[in-house]
């Protein structure tokens, strides 16, 4: 237990000192603030700098606060996921490549704890960042649109967090398995390309981790069939557990690949 503590402290110090603990939340909060503001002022902005012909009368859709949450999640689904991949794709493969892992691997350290320490710290940073982003958006939505009930927001965040944990687990377990470049490519395939595929041909199935974000939006009154929501949650949790074990196993198997 004390060695897990020591590893957690190391991960924490790393993320504080390479500023990931600061810039990742800042990125998510900036998006969280910009989304309601731009949507609110879009008609004004278009009017003044949009170069619309004289006399054009454009009817802007009337957004509800809930709609802003939906579009913000759309941003996070692409840009946010990309930030997570780029920030953490080298978590394990990078340590092998630079050889900093060597002095850990020669100790009687458990690779499960090694993987777990990274998994916990990265999840804390990612979840905190995304939550802060949505909470910032919530505040501006309340000012610029209509107040959204706390119950809805937290119900949404709960489900969406499970998808984020899934995303983090994918990136870390791939990092344990492959070099950084491969991790980036495969993470983008699994987390971004599959998302699009699930959107296009996903009408044929209802149980999938990639549908969690859609299910999450149901909290805002979107009309999505919820019947397989819990099955999807269960499947995602199973995937997460399997990927964690896969990551632990791969971290150990690839230990010899560290630069000596």
């Amino acid at each position: 237990m004390s060695s897990l503590n020591a590893l957690l402290r190391k991960e924490w110090r790393e993320n504080v000192r390479n500023f990931k603990l600061y810039w990742i939340p800042i990125v998510f909060v900036i998006f969280g603030i910009l989304e309601p503001i731009t949507n609110h002022f879009l008609p004004e902005i278009m009017k003044s700098v949009g170069n619309l012909p004289e006399g054009t009368d454009f009817v802007w859709p009337k957004f509800r606060g809930e709609d802003i949450f939906v579009s913000l999640m759309g941003q996070y689904q692409i840009i946010g996921i990309l930030v997570i991949i780029l920030a953490f794709m080298g978590s394990i493969s990078g340590e092998r490549k630079t050889g900093t892992a060597t002095l850990l691997y020669v100790r009687p350290m458990s690779f499960s704890q090694y993987f777990l320490s990274k998994w916990i710290v990265v999840n804390v940073i990612v979840l905190a960042s995304v939550w802060l982003g949505f909470l910032a958006a919530w505040y501006y939505i309340r000012i610029l649109f209509n107040p959204v009930a706390a119950g809805e927001v937290f119900a949404f965040l709960g489900t969406y967090s499970l998808w984020l944990i899934f995303a983090v687990t994918v990136v870390l377990s791939l990092s344990a398995w492959m070099p950084t470049g491969g991790t980036a490519g495969l993470s983008i395939l699994i987390l971004l390309v599959f998302q699009v595929l699930d959107g296009i041909i996903g009408t044929y199935w209802t149980i999938s981790p990639w549908k969690l974000s859609t299910y999450a939006l149901n909290a805002f009154g979107a009309s999505v069939d919820q019947s397989d929501f819990w099955m999807s949650v269960g499947l995602t949790i199973i995937f997460i557990v399997l990927l964690v074990f896969f990551g632990m196993y791969m971290a150990k198997r690839n230990a010899a690949k560290t630069l000596v």
């Binding site: 004390s2 060695s3 790393e14 000192r17 050889g99 002095l103 020669v106 009687p108 010899a256």
Partner: protein, 300 residues
Amino acid sequence: MTQLLQVHELSKSYGSHKAVNSITFELGEGTSTALIGPNGAGKTTTLSMLAGLVAPTNGSILFRGKPKPDIRASIGYLPQYPKFFPWLTALEFTEMAAVLSGVEKRRALSEAKKTLEFVGLGDSMKKRAGTFSGGMKQRLGLAQAIVHEPELLLLDEPVSALDPVGRRQVMNLLKELQQKTTILYSTHILNDAEEMTDQLLFLRKGVLVENGSLDSIREKYANPRVLIEFESVIEAERFTAISPWAVRVEKKQVSIDAVEEKVGTSEVLALLHTESLHIRKVELQTASLEDIFMKVAVEE
């Protein structure tokens, strides 16, 4: 003397390339052993296998007579180029190393401090490893290898990358550690091997070609020759003509194989005296460690 480590027919292949080919040796408790050999001889691979970083293809490693799958708790390992997390301070890193190697949490910090003082990083323990010079990194590497007081210390080229001053300092630290623990270190610098070694293991292309004490290997490869340097080439030629022993002439220098011809300096001097030849010097030459290295390394 009890055996701390017994290595039996240890091999490591990468594809068809045999990096280490069936080596067998033992390390007595409290001894210092040098693993020498040219670059690419398999020194680092051997140490990595003992450190548990690389799984052997074949062979067994017994620790205190027992096969232990994981001896990582009992060893300290210093790689050739230790890499540190640049954003951790020397003290933070050494403390973490101690905890991960099984030192109790409440003792870890004080042990780390003590060890850093010992290796001479007392003033820099609060600085980040990323700012360290090569010599300081090597000392930090030594600190993390000894902070948990391991029974066996594995050092991969501990002084090769250092300047003469740093080398001297680290050698002195190693000599002090030699009193307390068993050391196996690799090097291709023979003076270092000469300075603190009970046993020499000589690797060439993954094969253990020599294994013994420094003296026994010296004796085997000593190849003593009597070397005579004359005043002039003419005198050297005169000596060659009358010499009862087989000689090798090189301008003013004549040398005789002392073992084969069963001859010492006194016989040669006696002959020189009776023939009243003028010489500059007469000496008995034995092979230096470097000669031995060259001989063993390039043999065949």
